[in-house]
């Protein structure tokens, strides 16, 4: 078994026992990236030089017997939504294409403190808005299992790079399913922690009350390893929860006896692909064969989840993205051209004696805002900003935003009631497997339905994980979603690990073609 096909936990043992060096491990992944990422395009930037430098330092320190961080020498890929000090953080947008943060996100600071090696920044839908990574302002990422398909999104690069063995560990963010859906599409393990479990400081905000950072990896065990480093209360994030942080790895091998699994009636209705349904059914049987009791439950308000999500998330996004106005940092329109255009327009209006036109002509500041924002943002981002601004405007706010908040509360109540009877909720991660590139770009509504089974967890603030549970006849992975009550990541990871001890779907890797299409 080559280095790049080993789980992170095993690599860590090899590194600790000095059987391999951090430089060797890092180089192996950099080689894999060099060979195949021209085709997968999971990275926006690869930090080869600094990664190797850091790896060499770690090897030296290990050689001198110095204490090292808990991820010492393990490469980690980071979704380009997390600020990295001195390293361009674009958020998949032209708006921030050249933005170099002067600070690290808390998650990045913790990874650095753990001596993880930041290998690169991964591609994503612009501002994490999308489910296919096609909304990246730079290029779409492809699915390593079938490069004509999308890897899902918005953490498409984060999932694809793990599936393609370009990084053992990867950080994503999940606002409505953005970790779990691409994990499902790419056949990797992806965890969305409870809201408040992982600090959002330095995570470029999409929808602040829904965003959560989480790990993607080959196995549940590896996800637990990465979560242990990045989770925990952060005084810089008021919404980060001051709760105890368990060691997610300590008991992961212990099977959950008498596990009560809830099967959401509403998640097995129309729209669910047959092959996905069959694979998920098989997975549930696997749990039953290990003593789990399965019972049907209902989340009656889940049918409103998509509608609720697509009010709340755009409302918050419209506000969070107001700061990108071309004034302080980020993209700014060509000012000279803008002023010349304005002068020309003024001249023509004056010549035509158009008083009203002159009175309504943009001020230079207004035009700067208008052009910087319309040139700097892509269509999906603009769509959501407009949706949100509309839903928050006077006369509509009560009908949309305020009502959505009420439904959100009901969705949470549904979960609270369900978790009185069951320990975990089980079902498909997505209605279908990975779809073709370009297939849904003109149908945003169909794209939004991708989030059908995942958004509720964000609205309720609970934890969820996607693990591979099968393959379709066309050779695409199927994702199984498990959901747990707030702050029960340990239970979630143990259940996922239990499943992975019994199955080998998580060990399957695509055959990659090196040549670029």
């Amino acid at each position: 078994m080559s280095l790049i096909d080993s789980p992170a936990t095993e690599l860590l043992q090899l590194l600790k026992s000095a059987e391999v060096t951090a430089v060797e491990v890092t180089q192996a992944y950099l080689d894999q990236i060099a060979r195949y990422d021209g085709r997968v395009k999971s990275f926006l930037s690869v930090g080869s030089e600094r990664a190797l430098e850091q790896a060499a330092t770690i090897d030296q320190r290990r050689g001198r017997g110095e204490p090292l961080g808990e991820l010492a020498g393990l490469p980690v890929a980071v979704k380009d939504v997390l600020c990295t000090d001195g390293w361009v953080t674009s958020c998949g947008s032209k708006m921030l294409a050249d933005f170099v943060p002067p600070y690290d996100a808390t998650v990045i600071a913790r990874l650095k403190a753990a001596d993880a090696i930041l290998i690169g920044k991964t591609n994503m839908d612009e501002f994490a808005m999308g489910g296919s990574t096609e909304n990246s302002a730079f290029f779409p990422t492809t699915n390593p299992w079938d490069v004509s398909c999308t890897p899902g999104g918005s953490s498409g690069g984060a999932a694809a790079c793990v599936a393609a063995s370009m990084a053992p560990l990867s950080i994503g963010s999940d606002t409505g399913g953005s970790i779990r859906q691409p994990a499902g599409f790419c056949g990797v393990t992806g965890l969305k922690p409870t809201y408040g479990r992982v600090s959002r400081y330095g995570l470029i905000a999409f929808a602040s009350s829904l965003d959560q950072v989480g790990p993607l990896a080959s196995t549940a065990e590896d996800a637990a390893l990465l979560l242990r480093t990045i989770a925990g209360h952060d005084p810089l994030d008021s919404t980060s929860a001051p709760v105890d942080q368990p060691d997610y790895l300590a008991n992961i091998d212990q099977p959950l006896d008498g596990l009560r699994l809830g099967l959401v009636r509403e998640h097995f209705g129309p729209g669910l692909d047959d092959e996905v349904g069959a694979a998920v059914g098989q997975a549930i049987k696997e749990f039953e064969s290990r003593g789990a009791r399965v019972q049907e439950i209902s989340l009656p308000h889940s049918k409103y989840a998509i509608a609720t999500y697509y009010v709340i998330a755009p409302c918050e996004a419209s506000s969070n993205l107001a700061r990108y106005d071309g004034v302080h940092y980020g993209y700014r329109t060509d000012e000279a051209a803008m002023l010349a255009d304005l002068a020309e327009e003024r001249k023509q209006l004056a010549a035509a004696g158009d008083e009203a036109g002159l009175a309504n002509l943009d001020s230079p500041l207004m035009r700067l805002y208008r052009l910087s924002r319309s040139e700097g943002f892509g269509p999906e981002v603009k769509r959501r900003i407009m949706l949100g601004a509309y839903a928050l405007s006077a006369g509509y706010k009560d009908a949309y935003y305020v009502k959505a908040l009420k439904v959100r509360r009901l969705i949470r109540n549904d979960y609270d009631a369900a978790f009185r009877d069951v320990d975990l909720i089980v079902g498909p991660t997505t209605p279908t497997v990975a779809f073709g590139l370009g297939e849904m770009v003109d149908d945003p509504l169909a794209m939004y339905l991708q989030d059908l089974y995942t958004v509720s967890a964000n609205l309720a603030g609970i934890a969820g994980i996607s693990v591979p549970c099968g393959m379709t006849s066309t050779g695409l992975p199927v994702g199984l979603q498990l959901q747990a009550p707030p702050f029960q990541e340990e239970r979630l990871l143990r259940a996922a690990h239990m499943f992975q001890q019994a199955t080998d779907w998580h060990t399957k890797r695509p055959t990659l073609a090196a040549e670029t299409p």
């Binding site: 600070y103 400081y201 470029i204 602040s208 008021s238 919404t239 506000s319 107001a322 302080h328 928050l392």
Partner: protein
């Protein structure tokens, strides 16, 4: 329709900068006057991914003020985003409080010792916290319009105190502001420096004009750019007149076509208000709860403990001083309005000389005059209350008169000496009673004309004798000379 009586309706919005060391949602310094953009961090300049964390001290100062303003404190308050685009607002929104402010429904009592208006309670609609915007500086030199932005002030904690439209004149508005400023100073929550922008005032004003049975309201005008209390007073006086004249020329009522709210700026040079925003703009700030911040809770016990620690506030202190020291309301008002340290000095002085009235007179006439000359505050005054008390005791004992005592106080300041030392230096000593009487006899003998006048009851004539006596011995007490001379004349 000329000479129609009208009533002026005024409400004030005051923004007070709270005296914290750091900003409302980050750890940057709030000190004034630093190099532009040196007191900034990713949070207050709104960089991607940065998050606000509330400054508990700012909330505590806001709560203290709200309690002192007799406001109701809800158990639960939250933060909202007020959204608009402006270059000095880097996040694209201000973090403020919309529908659940930290306090509402309070009042502040105002009065005028000179009786220009009756004592009344002005309602406080609400007081809420928000973060300040930055400063835009427009440089239109050299034919190009160049704007520069200083974000040092961005994120500074402000308390916005909104009054009900209960004020009925520019005098009342001025009194409200003075009393509010005094209260804030007593509480130690703000330095209230208008020049540095620590206290900013906007006013809403219109007129209610009697129209037979009914009352017509003129369109509301928001007046801005008033940089001193005097400017507020003048701007409101001007604006009331302007609105009345405008009404007489063309009676447009509030809410009727053309009767929308407008914004005018005070031009201090020209002493007029000028239109700033004519268009009717329904500014939609798209308020919504800030998802980055947690709601803040205040229990009844929290509020009670804040209330218990307030100390005696100006309104109560005026009553206490008048009662305890036997001084009249006017004097108590003057003392209290000078601030808590001066009141402390006065109380110590009154205790030292055991005479509240005398202490009050000396503080008001001499201490305040000297402080003014020295351009100093009471804590810089070189004579302690105990030392001045000693001097006032000499006066009470008749050892020295008020006029000479003023010289002694000056000497105490100049030589940094005690009252006794200063009196010795000036050669002031008590004149023996028998010496006084023989001096008076000599003077009467030498001034038969004065004696004649006194016999006729022209008591003012004694003044000439006092003058001569002081020439012969500067230490004599004029009051004693007067009474001895009158007594002797009676015996003649």
């Amino acid at each position: 329709m000329t000479n129609t009586a009208y009533e002026t309706i005024i409400g004030l919005e005051v923004h007070v900068q709270l005296q914290t060391n750091t900003k409302l949602f980050c750890r940057c310094s709030t000190s004034f006057g630093a190099e532009p953009n040196t007191q900034t961090c990713p949070v207050c300049i709104g960089m991607p991914g940065s998050l606000p964390v509330m400054n508990r001290q700012a909330y505590a100062l806001g709560l203290k003020t709200a309690v002192a303003l007799n406001c109701q404190i809800p158990e639960f308050t939250k933060w909202d985003r007020k959204q608009y685009f402006y270059p000095d607002l880097p996040k694209g929104y201000q973090i403020s409080q919309f529908d659940l402010p930290m306090s509402e429904h309070g009042w502040l009592e105002i009065s005028d010792p000179k009786g220009a208006f009756e004592t009344k309670k002005i309602g406080i609609t609400r007081a809420h916290l928000e973060d300040d915007a930055g400063k835009s500086m427009h440089d239109e030199a050299a034919g190009r319009s160049d704007s520069r932005i200083d974000l040092n002030r961005t994120g500074t904690p402000l308390l916005e105190i909104v009054s009900d439209p209960d004020l009925r004149s520019a005098d009342e508005a001025r009194a409200y502001l003075s009393e509010l400023k005094l209260l804030l100073t007593y509480l130690g929550v703000s330095d209230c420096n208008m020049q540095e922008g620590s206290l900013r005032v906007d006013a809403n004003i219109n007129l209610h004009i009697a129209q037979g049975e009914r009352t017509a309201a003129t369109p509301i005008v928001e007046v801005k750019n008033m940089n001193s209390f005097r400017a507020v007073e003048r701007a409101l006086r001007f604006e009331a007149n302007r609105q009345f004249e405008s009404w007489q020329a063309n009676p447009v009522e509030l809410g009727s076509p053309g009767g929308h709210k407008t914004t005018r700026g005070w031009d201090d040079q020209m002493q007029i208000t000028r239109i700033q925003r004519e268009k009717e703009e329904s500014s939609d700030y798209r308020y919504f709860p800030d998802p980055d911040l947690l709601p803040v809770t205040a229990t009844e016990a929290d509020v009670a403990s804040v209330r218990g620690a307030l100390g005696e506030l100006p309104a109560a202190l005026r009553v206490t001083l008048a009662k305890k020291y036997g001084i009249d309301a006017y004097d108590a008002d003057v003392l209290v309005n000078q601030g808590r340290p001066l009141v402390a000095y006065f109380e110590e002085l009154a205790a030292a000389c055991d005479d509240g009235r005398r202490a009050s007179n000396w503080v008001q006439q001499d201490v305040l005059r000297l402080l003014n000359e020295m351009d100093a505050t009471i804590d810089q005054f070189p004579v302690t209350a105990a030392a001045l008390g000693e001097l006032l005791k000499f006066i009470a004992a008749g050892d020295i008169d008020n006029t000479r005592a003023k010289d002694v106080l000056q000497e105490m300041i100049d030589a940094q000496s005690s009252a006794a030392e200063a009196m010795a230096k000036l050669g002031i000593e008590k004149v023996d009673a028998s010496d006084l009487e023989s001096l008076c006899r000599e003077l009467l003998a030498a001034n038969p004309a004065v004696v004649a006048d006194l016999k006729e009851g022209k008591m003012k004539a004694v003044g000439a004798l006092i003058g001569q006596a002081k020439k012969q011995n500067p230490n004599v007490n004029p009051a004693q000379i007067k009474s001895i001379c009158i007594e002797l004349v009676k015996q003649l």
